[in-house]
Amino acid sequence: MPVEVRLPTVLRQHAGGQPSVQANGGTVGEVLEDMVRQFPGMRGQVVTEDGTLHKFVNVYLNDDDVRYLDKLETKMADDSVITILPAVAGGAGRT
């Protein structure tokens, strides 16, 4: 059964402007892989080529950041919703 993946503004351009898409998979990683299969423009934007979460995005399963669950191995339930948001960071840095 497909689950909803909610997209940040920057990724919507790769999905025809849709704010969310449907994708299949038993784990978060499988769902994201299916999403990239459908929308190849997202390749490398959420999951890196070495198969880990990109450091500039946060991925949530319902209310929880998957980095604090089982990361991409986190198991899905039928009513789960995945939300992808950009990691927001910066600062004055070394000045």
Binding site: G90, G91, A92
Partner: protein, 135 residues
């Protein structure tokens, strides 16, 4: 241009002052077409640093949902520079997540806080006017 309600402006500057001596940060919500922030979401700086900030990811999720529930969107981020001018650093430029966002920097270097706003697109920074409106 970035338009801020007086309440949003006061809230974001107040949050930056409250965060001293560390950098403070938060998110702005509003109507992207109107380029107006009507919601201010002060967040924790999980980097807990005077030189860096990271918006608390969970608070970001809650702010995103709240803005959406109001028919609005997150349209930008603000943070303070405690000892430097209100201009995006290379760190800010390198980590700017969304070219459609407004990047507000509040300098607390001098006694009076200075609020400026920028667009950051493909690594290029351009300043935009900030207008504070009554509501």
């Amino acid at each position: 241009m970035l338009r801020l309600t007086r309440q949003v402006h006061a809230r974001l500057v107040g949050h930056c002052l409250d965060g001293l001596p560390l950098e403070a940060c938060g998110l702005l919500g509003g109507d992207p077409a109107a380029e107006k922030a009507t919601l201010c979401y002060p967040t924790d700086n999980v980097a807990a640093s005077a030189r860096l900030y990271t918006v608390d990811p969970k608070q970001h999720l809650l702010a995103d949902r709240d803005a959406e529930a109001r028919g609005l969107e997150l349209i930008g981020v603000f943070h303070s520079h405690t000892h430097t001018e209100a201009f995006p650093s290379q760190t800010d430029v390198d980590q700017a997540p969304d070219p459609s966002w407004h990047y507000v920097v509040v300098s607390l270097r001098d006694l009076a806080p200075v609020t400026r706003s920028f667009r950051i697109v493909d690594g290029k920074v351009s300043e935009e006017p900030v207008v504070v409106e009554p509501r």
